[in-house]
Symmetry: C2
Subunit: 143 residues, 2 copies
């Protein structure tokens, strides 16, 4: 799976005429071996811990490339930070965001997706992507 994502990114890089660099591979490794939903800054910290003298801007730029290549997706949880989650192709998931501890639980629900489609059809709307987040208190925090 990591292999597949690495290949996907390298193919993207090649197809675009971009270059494969030490820094990009480092960020890629860190990203793939991290939890989903990390903010750019969190990723930056991890990369910097492993290595090094990598620049802030490089991490920003590289994460944007991940999104373009399709191995990652930008998400926003309302705090002012952009986060990136892993993308397994074809699949889409939504989120339960705990407003107390900040934890994020993913879920999928076919029935909801189907209803979304129906609603869109009613309006003659062609859905490309969607996002859905439920905010509240997670089970741990409720105890």
């Amino acid at each position: 799976m990591k292999r597949a994502k690495k290949k996907q990114f390298h193919d993207f890089i090649a197809a675009r005429g971009l270059k494969s660099t030490r820094q990009r591979d480092m960020v890629l490794d860190c990203f793939l071996s991290s939890d989903s939903h990390l903010s750019t800054e969190e990723l930056y910290m991890k990369v910097r811990a492993k290595n090094s003298s990598i620049g802030y801007a490089t991490v920003y730029r590289t994460l944007k490339l991940f999104a373009e290549s399709g191995i990652a997706r930008e998400i926003h949880f309302g705090d002012g930070q952009t986060r990136y989650e892993h993308v397994a192709e074809g699949e889409h998931h939504d989120h339960l965001v705990c407003t107390r501890c900040g934890s994020v639980q993913e879920f999928e629900n076919e029935a909801i997706e189907k209803l979304q489609q129906e609603v869109a059809d009613q309006f003659g709307f062609l859905v490309e992507t969607h996002k859905m987040e439920l905010y509240g208190i997670c089970s741990k925090c409720r105890k």
Copy 2:
């Protein structure tokens, strides 16, 4: 309806020990007579057109108060701007956002809300709010 919202805001102001001012009333009028989903800057432009010498900061502060008072709600559509929509109490709606022309269509769907609740229950999650946006091409742009 506008009356009710004005009252709601004034009650909130009073309960908090805040003051009723010319500027707040101006922003309130502009907000209530505008479409939903306006960004802070758009609102600022409208207020400034009507009057005057109102400060940027005042509009920001006032919109935050609207959200706290419950007559408005912050929304984010992924462009980096905070928008505010009108809140009719109890009711919640979701959005169809056209990625081509930027138009926003609101919709409500009880069945989806119900399914969301079920999912949350499965995880022992207590939902406080949610947001859901479908991004794609609206009917006008598809023609």
